[in-house]
């Protein structure tokens, strides 16, 4: 850049300092932009760079450049630069700003980028009130790709993809982004300006500066839409293109402030400070749990358990108590639920393993214990039970067709027993009690410890304990009657 030193004269307007003096990232013609003669991007860039200079935020600024002609904004802006995928600038800007709240994030987007492919991202960033600044260049055309229709293309206008003119029946109407976003609650500042001549440009300069200043002040989402000429693709000379912005474009996209809450907006509260690193294991709950393997159980055991019932019977919970107690007892454990729609209704089951050796597969295909809380579960899983395995069934007798003389069946009305001690929903605990009583799989002590850890409600803990005891009792009293 040449320097001008004329006595008595002072420079009043010059290339803003936030531009590189030489565009070294550009492969050639490094003192010129890559934009066509008369292109609005250059003017918009200049307005942004001036605002950055005036606000003294060059070091803090991160420019997000989009896909489109301005993909190379980073050739020019001597700021931090992130170039992003088509339409995704608001998503990227969201995370940059949240990652570095002190940075000043400017998302620069074109009309195809913001209003078509990135429509979801801009709406949601605006709706969250992300405290960054969007400069939206609307030239009503896809420039870089050679003149296809944009969502903002005026009705009747011929483009390479609307060769007969944009037809509302076919392509819909030009999308008015400011009006759309102004229907949201969160945005602080939304204005539409234009580059159709000096007066409009001076106004645009003020809007750009304000939108950035809002961010410096810590206020929320600000967006400036700039109606901008694209002489090359519009097939006009720059002066004609400028007139089209001033006339037809400004008519179709009324200029003005669509949202201004800069005075009433409050500064977004800062996130709480990060805790010291040493605190993190406690926060993650890692300091609780089973410290070591306290008492290695005598002998080897390999319990392959299937718990099944209908949703709401506490099937998964029963399994969780078992592994919790098993881990305390020094066993290797695993718990695998059936998940998904079963969570809401229908059948529910889980695979539980408790083993004195390391567990290979957590899947239980040949259980040696089946806990069936209802008949369909019994019918489904009984055939899979290994010979000499245990079957616990919630009922008064095994239903027809469920005879398995080679297994040890414990049939009790567990729901009724639970009802007697406080709540029928504790049937899972009466069945667990029966399991302990019949098999001696785990001590009651261990299970109670696990229960205390898993059940936070004092009332339920009491019911569960009673249910567990009555389950044990039920099986000890009557176990000899079972086959």
């Amino acid at each position: 850049m040449p320097e001008y030193a004329v006595p008595e004269y002072a420079v009043v307007h010059e290339k803003p300092r936030s531009f590189y003096s030489l565009y070294e990232r550009k492969p050639e013609l490094q003192h010129q932009t890559h934009y066509c003669p008369g292109c609005g991007h250059g003017i918009a860039h200049k307005l942004i760079a001036r605002a950055i200079d005036e606000l003294g935020i060059q070091d803090r600024t991160v420019m997000i450049s989009p896909v489109g002609c301005s993909v190379f904004a980073y050739y020019y802006f001597d700021t931090g630069n992130v170039q992003v995928a088509h339409g995704r600038a608001p998503a990227v800007a969201t995370a940059v700003k949240r990652s570095r709240p002190e940075s000043i994030v400017l998302a620069y987007q074109g009309d195809g980028d913001l209003a078509a492919i990135g429509a979801a991202e801009i709406v949601h960033a605006a709706n969250r009130g992300e405290p960054f600044t969007v400069i939206f260049i609307n030239n009503g055309i896809y420039g870089m790709t050679g003149g296809q229709m944009a969502p903002t293309t005026l009705l009747g206008r011929k483009t390479t993809t609307t060769p007969f003119g944009r037809n509302a029946w076919n392509e819909g109407y030009p999308l008015r982004v400011c009006e759309l976003l102004a229907s949201l609650e969160a945005p602080v500042y939304i204005e539409r300006v234009a580059l159709g001549g000096n007066r409009q440009i001076m106004k645009a300069a003020g809007a750009v500066r304000r939108a950035i200043e809002n961010q410096v002040k810590g206020l929320g989402f600000s967006l400036v839409e700039i109606l901008s000429p694209c002489p090359t693709i519009w097939k006009m000379n720059p002066v004609e293109a400028q007139r089209l912005v001033l006339g037809e474009m400004t008519e179709a996209f009324p200029l003005g402030v669509f949202r201004d809450r800069t005075k009433s907006a409050t500064v977004r509260p800062a996130a709480p400070p990060a805790p010291p690193l040493a605190e993190i294991p406690r926060i993650l709950g890692l300091t609780e749990g089973c410290e070591s393997t306290p008492s290695q159980p005598a002998g080897s055991s390999d319990w392959r358990i299937r718990v099944a019932g209908f949703g709401g019977q506490g099937v998964l919970m029963l399994g969780e108590i078992l592994i919790e107690a098993g881990l305390e007892a020094g066993l290797d454990v695993s718990w695998l639920p059936s998940y998904g729609p079963e969570m809401r209704s229908g059948t529910s089951n889980c695979h539980v393993r408790l083993s004195s050796g390391p567990i290979d597969s957590p899947l239980v295909s040949r259980p040696n214990v089946l806990l069936a809380l209802n008949e369909p579960s019994l019918r489904k899983f009984l055939p899979t039970v290994a010979p000499r395995g245990w079957v616990f069934y919630n009922g008064t007798q095994l239903p027809d067709g469920c005879e398995r003389p080679d297994v040890q069946a414990v049939v009790r009305p567990f729901t009724e027993i639970a009802d007697r001690v406080g709540d029928p929903r504790a049937a899972n605990m009466t069945m667990l009690g029966a399991l302990l009583g019949a098999t001696g799989m785990l001590t009651e002590e261990r299970v109670l410890t696990a229960l205390r850890r898993k059940v936070s409600s004092g009332r339920w803990l009491e019911i569960d304990q009673r249910a567990l005891d009555s389950g044990i009792e039920a099986v000890i009293k009557g176990v000899s009657h079972e086959s």
Partner: protein
Amino acid sequence: MPKQLIKGNEAIVKGAILAGCRAFYGYPITPASEIAEAAALYMPQVGGVFLQAESEVAAINMLYGAASAGVRAMTGSSGPGMSLMQEGMSYLAGAELPCVIADIMRGGPGLGNIAPEQGDYNQVVKGGGHGNYRTLVLAPDSVQEMASLTELAFDLADEYRNPVVVLADGCIGQMMEPVEFPAAVAEPRIPHWAVTGTADSRGNLVTSIHLDPDELEAHIRHLETKYRRAERKEVRFESWRAEDAEVVLVGYGIVARVLKAAVEQAREEGLAVGLLRPITLYPFPSVELRRLSRRALAFVVVELSTGQMLDDVRLALEGRRPVDFYGRAGGNVPAAEEVLAFVRRICAREKRAREYMAHA
């Protein structure tokens, strides 16, 4: 640290935070939603960011933003969401940004179902996005590894400045097992190339565009060099009774757990069967497979798919040995007995072949 009984999906988040991850951007999807839920609970408490994005498309681009700003960031998803994230993963790889993506696979194609499957192998391991790039892929087979491989994933992502995928399935994500977390807590660090809105980082640029063909080719060669280095240095696998095996089973994730049980049962029957479990799916343990092929007579690939990793095993073995396949899909997980029945047939076939060769 004491042993904890937690779900695989929760272990991912705890492992991530211990590894210095301070950002989670994601979109809920079964069977991965517990990842987002755990992140929503813990991230704000550790000075991190949690944000439920408007889509997986937005989520992956938020990772792009967080990674650009030098924050260890992650997301969690499943098949349909992974499909949407492929564009972003290509950009991340192209722009050399590190991040970790957990894919808890479910049934496909289309909406498929939410039961466990391994049908995302191709889109994740081969890269479903455009262009010449790879993602490093780690495949945990236990809740413990959900934690430890997630921690490793962050280190690899930074080391190679590339997305790393933790590829698990609904079983591993949903199941609970004891996990022991390391006592060490990694301190978040800002890499020198990050764009953080400071004077020091003002000259930094994150981009994936290289207009000049020579420049782009040089960039692609540079990426390729990184992938070759990963292939030399980062291959991880578990060999389970494979050294003297005549038939080597190959499987990852929940399948490997089933295969271990099948190997034990086969050994009890006197069959020389072993298991090779790839822990890194890319880079793939091809060299180890070739080494095992010196002794092994046949390989059996088992997957919860119609055969995706199968191609990599075949490419690794280059026709040296027969490669058989046993696959279940749609959310079915084979029982060990079911696999064993198949393996018995392969063992018998190989025995007949050997006897025939001895006669001939």
